[in-house]
Every structure is written in C-alpha cells, then in structure tokens.
Subunit: 551 residues, 2 copies
C-alpha cells in the first residue's frame, strides 16, 4: 500500500507539513473541533439516536458548509483527505486497538464463525458487488471503467464500518452477538484491504484460470504471512519484556516498548510488502494475550487506556475528516451536469451492498445454528437482522480505497472516476447517517432489554470494553480461569450430530488443543496470565500500598 | 518559531513524508534502534557510568559510522535533522511532561529561587557567552558573523540539558537539589527559546537604548503572555472535565481531551506568535494541579504514564538523532581545511559555558543561603558544584537553535556558519559524553549516600517521579494536605533578618496567599485535590472492586 501510494501522494503531505500560519490556523480549528466532538458526543451519550461517529460526521459537514461559505465556494476542508495520513497514522491505531481489546475467549471460541463471516462473507459480498456493478453500470453512461475498476469497486464497498452498531450493542448482555459483529468487522477491514492490494498488484486486463489461481494464491499468501509476522512481533515483545522484566525499573520503558513494537510490526509488514493492517491486528491480539500480562499494574492500565484513547481520537478524527471532505466542491462539479446518473449509481451500490450482505449473513447464520446444539448459542432471526444491519454502514476505509483507486493525488479528470468518488461519498454519508441513526432504535426494537441504555455502566468505555482486574492477577486467578474455560454459556459438548460435529467439534477441539499447547509451552516461554514471575517488592505490589503525597 | 521556519523547512518534512520503500527501510531501522536503545539502556541501568541519553547518543554515533561506511561516505543519517520535527513533535511532549510531573509543592515553595536560576541565570549565562564570543572570535578567522549571530550564539549555548544529571539525582534523598536542577532546567529551556525568538524578530544591526528596551519588553511580553495562555488552557480543560464529569461515561474521553487540550495550548501559542514551549509547560503544571484530580483513577494512571512515556521516547529519539546527525559529512567538509580553528572555537565555547554558569550559580546560591535561616534548607558547596555541573551539558535544544540560525533548510554555504554548526555539534557531543559520563561518579563522590543507586525503588520511573496514591484521594487527604503545607523541612519562619526577610518572606507570603486563594476560589471552581465531586457508584469506586474476568 505504502509503496504504491508513495510517488502519488508525497505532494499531499506537504499540505500537512507546510507550517505557514494558515496551516497553524487550520490545525487549531481542527484540534478545537476534535475537542468539540468529544464534548458534544459526551452530552449526547444518552440520546436515543445519536452516537459519537454521527456527531463527528455532522460537525464535519457543518464546518464544511461554514468553510464553503467563508471561502466563497472554493474549498470545504481544513485538510485534504490523504490516504497516507489515513493508512499510516489513523488506521493502524484503530486496528491495533481492536486486536488489543478483543475479548479473546469469545473471539477464539467463535474463531471459525468469525473467519467465515469476516473472510468468506467479505469475498461473497465482494463478488456480488463487483459483478452486480459490472452488469448494471454498463447500461448507464458513466465513462470508461475496466475490469480492475469493477473488482476494486467490489473491494471498496465490501469494507464495512460497524463502529456505529458496536457503540449500541452491549457486550455483557449479548456477548455472542457483540463478538460476532466486532470480530467480523475487524477481519472484514483486513480482508478488504488485502483484497484491494491483491487486485491492484495484478494485471487483470486479461483473465484466465492461471491468473485467477495466482490471485487467490497471492491473497492467501498476504493473509497468512501478515498474520504470522504480527504474531511473531507480538511474541518477540512478550519475550523481551518477560526476560528483562522491565517493571523492576520503569513503567515507561515497558509502555514505550509495547508502543514501538506495535508500530514496528506495522512498518515491517510494509517493508515486506505485506498487509500492515492484518499484521498489526494480530500483533495486538498476541500482545494482549502475552505481553500485557508480563508488565506492571500501572503499565497495564496505561496501555489499555492509552491505546483505546488513540483509537478513539483516530475514529473521531476520521469521521470529522470525512464529513468535511464530503462537500469538496471540485469533485461535485464533474457530476453536476448529470445528477441523475450519480443518484442512480449511489442507489444501485446501496442496493448491492444490502443484497451482498444478506447473501452471506443469513445462509452462514443458518449453517452456524445448524451446527450448534444448545439453544443459547443459536442466533435468532432478530439477531441475524442485527448482524446484517451492523455491516451495512460504509466508512473511512471505503473512502480511502476509493481515493486510491480513482484519483491521482486527490484529483481526477475522468468523468467515470469523478462519479465513483462522489458515489462513494454519497454511500458513506447516507449509510452512516441513515442506517447508523436507525441502528439504535432498531436494536432496541429487535433486542428489547431493560438495562440496555443505562449510562452509568462501568463498561461503557468506548472501544475499551474490558473492565480491568487490579488485584486478582495471580496464580489463583489463573486456576479459576483454567477450570472455567467453558465459561458457563454452554453446559456440554456431548452428542453432536454429524454436520454439527463437522463444524462444531473442530472449533472446540482446536480451542482445546490450543489451550493445552498454550499452557504447557507458550505461556511458560512468553508469559501471560499466571506465568508472570512474581517478584516480592516489585512495583506491582508496592504501587497499591504506596500512599506518598503527590503535590 | 513555526512561522519563521515555515518556508525554509517545508522541504524537509518531505524526507519524512515521502513514503517510498527507502524511507520505509529507514523508519524500520530507526524504530528498531529506538527499541534497542530502550533495551540496552535498561541493561546498563546499574552501570556506574552510563545512562539512557549517553547510550542513545553512542548507538546513534555507531549507526552513523555504519551508514557512512555502507553509503561510501555519502551520508550518515537515516533522517535529516529538522527543526520542524524537533519543535513540533519532540520538544512539546518533553516540556509538557516536565510541567505535568513537576513536584508542585517543591516547585512553588522554591519558585523564586527557580525563577532566579532559570530566568536570571540564563540571562547572565547568555550575556557572558555572547560578549565573550564577540570579543574572542573576532581575533580568530571564522568568517563573517554579525551582532545578531553573536547574540544567537549566547542563546544557543545558554540552553542547558540537565537530563543526564536528573537521571542520577534521587529526588527523595535530595528533594531541594532535585527540585532546583529540574525546575531550573525547565525554565531555562523556555527562557532560551523565548530569548532566541526575541533576537530573531529584532533588527539588531544598530543597537541603542530604545531597541534594548523594546527587546526587553518583547521578551517580557512573550514570557508573560505565554504563561497566561498556558494557564488559561489548563484551567479550561479542568473546568470542562469537572463540569461534564466525563468519568461517568468514559476514561478514554478524559484522556483524549487532556491530550488534545495540551496540544491545543501549544498550537494556540503558535497562532498568537507566542512561545509554545512556555505555554505547554504551564499548561502541564495547571493540568496536573487541577485537571488531573478531576478525572477517574484509570485516567490518572494512564495520563501520568502515557505522558511520561511519550516524553521518554522523544528524549531517546532526540539523542539517537543527534548522534547520527553528528557525523553528517557535508558540514565537516567546510572545516576540514582548518581543523585548528574549529577545535579552538569549540574549546572557547566550552570555557565560556563553564564560566557563564559559574557566574550565576555560586553568587545566586550564596544569596539564597543568606536568605535561609534553617541549616537544612541551605545549599552546601558540594551541592552548588552539583548544580553547576548539572547545567554544563548541552543538548538537542542547542542543536535545533543552531540549525535554525546558521543553516537554510539544513544546508549552509558560508564558512562562518559551517564552523558554528560543527562547533555546536562538538560542544553537544563533548559535553554530553564527557560531562555526562562524569556526572554519576561526581555526584557519588560529592553527595555520598548509601542507598543512592539501588534499583528496586518504586520511584525510579524515568521522568515520572511521583508515586501515585490510589485510594486516599478524598476530603480526608485534603485536610491532611492543608494542615501540612509547611511539610516539616522548615520548623518556623520566625525572626528573619532584613535581607533574609526581603528574599524569604515574599516566597512564603506569596505561597501562603496563593494557597488561600487556591483553596477558597480556584479549587471549588476548577476542581483539584479534595474538590472532586464524589459520585457513588462512579467508575473510580467500582474499578477497584470490579473483578470481572479479562480474557
């Protein structure tokens, strides 16, 4: 991604780097707007319709209008949308944090389902959108698009943005649903970016069996190699911190090393032309499973909240950015002579998105339900509708991919490209605003639960769902955990039918052997819960008893 | 600073923004080196001579040599030294953290002394170095330098870097000494940058009384306005967080708002052409006095360590950077025909630095001792030598200011300028390595204390000296604090002599009235210790009792 964008985009960062007074004014306004979004988002927390993302989007749009009026219709944004900024600075913390905060037990228990939804589902969605667009758009007059463009459209609109739904779902009341939507969203992001990269790196003007196979091979290679690299970097950080036991000297060193290693994993992926997104995701998962348990109490609290905060700010930043960029007048000029075409294209894309998602959510859910015996693990039709709805929103990933495919340095001269950019903007705005606004009432209607929107919950931290346990982090806790790894939602795995067995048993078997392997080999080497050497008089112990004055 | 650097430096950031594969390789190496510095710094923690800064500097130098050999003598650095990077990304977190972590009771109790050392002392040092250089350099053949250049040299070499000494001093055993060295270092950084800006913004080709007065006025205006802006932003953040009580919903919002407001204070200072360094310093102090007490327990731990970590990484980054840049071959070519001159200039500067510092440390210490009655508050001669030594090192601020004054976009064609750049590099390297390496043994020799270098101290966190108090943060604690604000080191203020009264009484009176004002007006409005509304069932309370499972 990086290397492809390089020559095209180096000019763009200038807008950010050029430090004249105008850009200082812009930066001030932008930071002030970010603060405003956070405060307003907080005030609207209890509102029935709103959430942080939509607030930021609306504030961005409003600011765009004000700037458009002040500048006399010349410009609508404070900063030019840049894929570099997006892929290098904003997306990595969001994805890393997603991996870092994921409830691993739920994630790994539902691993096969999540991969089915996230990877296979995205491929289904991609195929339907690509070929739907290919067959319908040819009848419309939208300029010249080749096969690679249509495949790119598929990848662009297969990238979901489930942040609106996740802000509404309560993971304590519907853990399975939350875990599915969350896990699918994360895997989906990575899959669509890997897919997009695979498309860009192939010459798809002529297509035959050999190229299709190569394409699949390339996709799998990117997927697997990136995962391994991420896991490797995460394990390396765990090993270093465990061996050296930094906590003895300094919390800051531990936190610094975790941050730098996370960033390093991303940079290494770029170095080896792999997918940084996927790498950083798995680095986050491994770090929270091993490294996080090797550091001091203070480092745990710090990393947990610092990563969540970075991710939170990046998300608000993104929505603000997309809101402002949506009104960019230059792009709309190309389509102003044929508004009907643009509306038609956007509507068709929205339709394809809905069909493409329905085409895998309901069949896969049925398959999943068929494989589960216990009623509590089945996904009801209402829940299926929620899963379907949760992935209808399109966000910043789609925007960034569309910019990358259809513009050169943020500008375009081709009619077809301009229409695709404006349609992407329309789809992102419409889906986030309309589908996003409806998410809260829809979920309240479909999953009526009395305590769903109480505001004083301890776990309402955005994107940092786990409550932390400050004192019970010892061997005792570990034993509880081992004894409890079926976690009560499922009384027994006995008597599976044959197809059930096929789908269900491997998950449990894999999970079971993984636990065994983890306990007997991985944790003793890399640390993790219950395998942290307890040093008497270490800061972990002292920090809670030290009542020294602060002033 | 920003606006001045703008046009000159926009080209430089390209080197960072240009995202071709070569720069990915550089970034990887740089991040890996940072990790290496942290690990090696940790391993050398107990070493008698080394500390983090010197380790980073040496690793930087070694890497520079390797790159020089690989590139066949063409280049020695991975990234070009850029003042933009330094003043916009690296210095603000360091200075903000300094303000945020300062022990405010010690800082404000010794406020007048710290200001005397930090501001008046820097001015004395600046004057001696400027006029010393002016009178001596004219006899050497070093090209054309005008008056503004000599004044800039004074400001450049008045900027101390006491980080090496602070890593050695133990603030629990010698709180007064630590507070003086730390406070002076922070005020010194700000003073020298403000001084440098004031010099640059004045036409000093002709000097008369009117211009000198204007210069002083400008300096005072920058100093005071920046301080007020910083305090204002800090108070605003405290007020917003107190009024809205974010903790009820989300730790991440609080942390995000604190980070964004801190950055906003810096950007606002740039907007109004003030000194961002000074603004961000006072913003940090105010935030730690008010805002920090208004947030949840988790936010406190997170901000404390996250800011310290950012500052720590920025420091290591800087020393690594300076080490690599020192071998930049281009600059040395100019001076290679007259190595004698360069050595002479560097030696003279080192001499002037030592004299300039002695010229205020010993007289001001004498004055201070004269004003103090109790023996325990006096500064012994040995301690005075430590204070003197602590400020002999020169660091990244000097480098950045020298680049700004003597180069255009990092390059120079003038012989005089090239000599000043290489001399600055030499002085920085020599002072950090030689004086820095000697700091540990010197302090061990001058202040022999048995437990000085034990490694298992809870407060050995680099740059985050305060131990945090997790549970005693209520009204009870507040009363203890109020009843205790003479803190035992000084039994009474009675019977001061006239000069003692003149110097000592105001400090105590100011401190006393400030406490009264703070308790009766500021804290009730802006929060702070003991004035945080206690909400039953708030996350503060629950987080310690919530033992929910994490996996």
């Amino acid at each position: 991604m990086w290397s492809q964008l390089s020559s095209l985009l180096s000019g763009k960062m200038d807008a950010l780097a050029t430090s004249d007074h105008a850009s200082v004014v812009s930066m001030n306004m932008f930071v002030a707007l970010l603060c405003g979004c956070i405060v307003i988002g907080h005030l609207l927390e209890e509102n029935r319709w709103m959430n942080e993302s939509i607030t930021a989007l609306l504030i961005g749009l409003a600011t765009g209008v004000v700037i458009l009026l002040i500048s006399g219709g010349k410009s609508s944004h404070l900063l030019v949308f840049s894929e570099d900024l997006f892929f290098i600075y904003l997306l990595p913390p969001i994805i890393f944090n997603a991996g870092f905060q994921v409830k691993k037990k739920q994630f790994f228990r539902n691993f096969i389902t999540i991969i089915l939804f996230g990877a296979v589902g995205t491929l289904v969605s991609f195929t339907i959108i690509s070929f739907g667009a290919l067959s319908i758009f040819k009848k419309l007059d939208i300029g010249s698009l080749d096969l690679a463009d249509y495949l790119a459209i598929g990848a662009i609109f297969a990238a979901t943005d489930s942040v609106c739904t996740l802000q509404v779902l309560n993971q304590d009341e519907t853990p399975l649903l939350y875990s599915l939507v969350f896990g699918e969203g994360v895997v989906n992001d990575a899959t669509s970016v890997v897919l997009f990269n695979a498309i860009q790196s192939f010459d798809l003007t002529t297509i035959d069996h050999r190229i299709a196979l190569q394409f699949m091979g390339n996709f799998l290679y990117l997927f697997i190699a990136s995962t391994i690299l991420g896991a490797f970097t995460g394990l390396l950080s765990a090993y270093i911190i465990k061996k050296l036991y930094f906590g003895r000297h300094s919390t800051d060193r531990e936190v610094a090393l975790m941050m730098l290693m996370a960033y390093l994993s991303y940079m290494l992926a770029e170095l080896f032309y792999l997918s940084g997104i996927l790498t950083v995701l798995f680095c986050g998962i491994v770090m929270s499973h091993y490294t996080w348990h090797n550091v001091t109490e203070s480092s745990r609290v710090t990393t947990k909240h610092a990563f969540a905060t970075l991710s939170f700010v990046a998300e608000v930043f993104l929505f603000l950015y997309v809101g402002m960029d949506a009104l960019d007048i230059e792009k709309w000029r190309f389509v102003s002579d044929s508004p009907g075409t643009s509306v038609a294209v956007s509507s068709i894309l929205l339709g394809l998105i809905m069909v493409g998602r329905a085409a895998f959510v309901f069949p896969l859910s049925w398959l999943m339900n068929f494989a589960k015996k216990s009623h509590s693990e089945k996904v009801s039709l209402n829940q299926q509708v929620v899963i379907w709805w949760a992935g209808l929103m399109r966000g910043a990933v789609s925007m960034a991919l569309a910019y990358n495919q259809f513009t050169r340095s943020g500008h375009t001269q081709l009619r077809g490209n301009a229409i695709m950019i404006t349609s992407t903007t329309t789809v992102v705005l419409f889906s986030t605003m309309v589908f996003g606004l409806l998410a809260k009432p829809l979920i309240m209607f479909l999953l009526p639960q009395p305590k769903h929107f109480t505001s004083c919950s301890t776990v309402s931290d955005l994107g940092s769902p786990k409550a932390y346990l400050p004192l019970l982090e010892g061997h005792q806790d570990y034993e509880v955990d081992v004894g409890n790894h079926d976690d009560g939602t499922e009384p027994t795995i006995a008597r599976p039918s044959s197809l059930r067995m096929l789908l269900n048993a491997p998950t449990h078997t894999v999970h079971h052997y993984w636990r065994k392997f983890d306990d007997s080999f991985m944790r003793p080497v890399f640390g993790g819960r219950g395998f942290v050497p307890f040093v008497p008089g270490s800061p972990t112990e002292q920090s809670t008893h030290n009542l020294a004055d602060r002033t």
